[in-house]
Every structure is written in C-alpha cells, then in structure tokens.
Subunit: 233 residues, 2 copies
Amino acid sequence: MHIFYTPDIHSDTYILSEEESKHCIKVLRLQKDSLVQLVDGKGGFYEAIISDPHPKRTSLSVIKVQEEFGRRNHHLHIAIAPTKNIERVEWFLEKATEIGIDTITPLICERSERKELKTDRLNKVITSAVKQSIKAYHPKLNEVVRFKEFIGSVSSTQKFIAHCIDGEKFTLKDKIALNSDYLVMIGPEGDFSPSEVLEALAVNFVPISLGNSRLRTETAALEACFEINYLNR
Amino acid sequence: MHIFYTPDIHSDTYILSEEESKHCIKVLRLQKDSLVQLVDGKGGFYEAIISDPHPKRTSLSVIKVQEEFGRRNHHLHIAIAPTKNIERVEWFLEKATEIGIDTITPLICERSERKELKTDRLNKVITSAVKQSIKAYHPKLNEVVRFKEFIGSVSSTQKFIAHCIDGEKFTLKDKIALNSDYLVMIGPEGDFSPSEVLEALAVNFVPISLGNSRLRTETAALEACFEINYLNR
C-alpha cells in the first residue's frame, strides 16, 4: 500500500501537494476510494481513502487513526562528526531511521574534514526511510554545531562518548539504564582529539568502546544505534 | 601505517605487484626501511620493512608475524538475496566485513529481481574493507547459487531463516549456542516465498525475527551480523 508523509495533517481530510497528487494519480494511477497510509512524523499513523482523485490537489479522507504508532521505549540521540564523503552520512541516516533513532546532531570537531552540511537533502533521505520502513515518528536532524558549544548545551540522562584513545572504557551494556534517554557522540575519521575527550569526560560523558573492530565513523554510529535498540528490546 | 593485502605470501620476503609497487613508491612515497603492514586473509598479520623501494617490484622483508590475528570465536555465514540496486550489496559487504563475517553466499530466490552478480568487483569492496579495518581474515564471497540447490547442500551447525510471513518466530538470542558456526538466510526485497520458507523449515532452518522494524534486505542482513557478533562478545 502506498504511504505519504503528512507532517501538516490537522483534521480528517488532507490535500496532497501538487507534486504528490501527480505522483498519486498519474504515476501510481490510484483511483477514487483507493486506500493509502499516512504518517505525520509525530507518532500518528493514518489510513485514508482517496475522496477526490484530482491530479493536482488530491483529497484524502482519514478513516482510521493510531496515535503513538510504533513508539519506542527510549530516546536515542546520536551526535556524529559528518564524514568527508557525504554518501556515508546518508547511509547512516537511512539505516539508523530503519533501526530506530530520534535525534541526530552533526558535530564539527577539531579533526573534522567536513565543516558544513546541507541538511535539506539529508532530511529527504530520512523522510524516504521513514516511509519505506513505515515509521510514524520522523527523526529530527539538527543543524551542524561545534563540539564545544554542543557539549556545553546538551541535556540527556545518559551521555556517552565513543573514542579510540587508550584509557578506561565501558560497554553500553555495562552502563545503560533501560528505557532512558541516551546521547552517544561519535568522532570524525581521525577520532576526537585528546582534549575533546577530556572536555567530554569533565561534563560527565561516559567513555565507551563499541567492540574490538576498527570501525569507520558511520559504522560506529550504526553499531551504537544497534546496541541501544537491541538492549532496550 | 600503510597496509597491503598479500594472500600469496609464503616466505619472509614479498614482492609487491607492479600496481602496488607504484602506489607504494610513487604515490605514498615510502622509502627504504619504511614500516608497512601486511595481511594474508588467512589470519596472518605481518610487519615488514621496504628492503628495495623499486617502483615496479618493491621488495618487503617481514620482521614480525602474528598468526590467527583477531580470530573470532565463531563462524558466520550469511546467505543473502542480492538487492536490485548493487550499491546496497556493496554497502552490506563493507559493513559486515568491518563488524565481522566469514562467508557470504548470494542467493537467487523465487522473488529475486537480480538473478546474477559479478563477484570480482564485490571482492574488491571486501578487500578494501579488510585493509581499512585491519582484518587478517578475508571474508569469502561465494558464487551466486539458487535457493533450492543451496539449502540442499549447505552444512552449518545452526541454520536460521529470517522472513516476514506470519508464524512462529524466535530471536537469535533465544536460539543460538555461543562459539558455534551459524548460517543466516536473508530474502530478497519481496521476501522469501511461502514455499521457500516451508522448504527451509523442512531441512531444520529455525525461523527468526530481527526485531519489530521493517528492514530493507541489506539492513536485515547487517542486523543479523551485528546480533551474532554482539551475542558472542
């Protein structure tokens, strides 16, 4: 069944945008009374029928609503230094959306090669994964922020930093309280700098290891996402 | 430090191929007595120095060998129906190599859209991930095989099939014996057909679920890879 992302739905009727109307009627060739699904990105999952198959402004009538659809029992925020190759960021966003994530913050670190990011295109990747994997919650992608600013301002119940410098490390399994809200910071290709690690520890980030393998930035972020979702199952 | 993949190393000297010699001497500009690392794909991890920086046939002298470097405590074989978009297969191979996998078999199923696969290029993706993540074992990529042939011929201690059809399902956590050898089958975009699932159950594959999310083929395969590595840590 076809699914539409409708963040601005406010009543039991909804008019698709011109682009989506065209897609719905001209491409998918859906007809009057066809059933479609809608997600609003805030937990609402809707079943609707096409009440007016207008090729430019298709009307939908909602016939069933489920709130908090697929709501997870925890909140996961991953702050990740974007990789030089933007495709790796896109892969991470798609996969993390499928597996389960709530907030992503792109972080600019001392050793970041990439210092800026266009979030528009990345948000489209997330929306596409939301629809493909039928998620009623749309992960929030924050604007890029510098490491220092970020660690000074963020509030999460449990804060972790994954880094590769020698020193005491824990595993997520050792340290996480279940059903909580988590922040995991993942550094750039060249890792966090020692002073960044110290600054994070000073504001109570817990240093973690994600296993014995040497992982790329986006793989490490996905591993953290897997582990936290897995442990909370 | 630079790392080379040297599957044909047999003594304490090694001559790089013309292409790798050029890369080593002309691109990386490594000089006599520079230290490099070698992995042979069969568990051998070597440290070597450049004894002759010849731009077409660079000689290396091994100074240290470690056998069974990073050997894992289990064996994981994933049989996966290749996705229509080959990039998704490549991504899976890269990530699975980083996280830990031994054997991959591309499977042609009833509902497979992709019926063939060039393994040469895919092997290069694996080799590149082997070097990047410093693995001494090179995962083995088998040639494409049809589902029926495969399930009739394969022997693994623990065999699992991940599918989305209603019915009794287990989790890997419930069913796996640790430190064993595992096979997990992952179906194509449209899932295994009901008759394929029945055929697999008839030869003692255990039906599993990989969580509540609707995952793409390559994400499901990676989730299985992650779970098995995680449970065996």
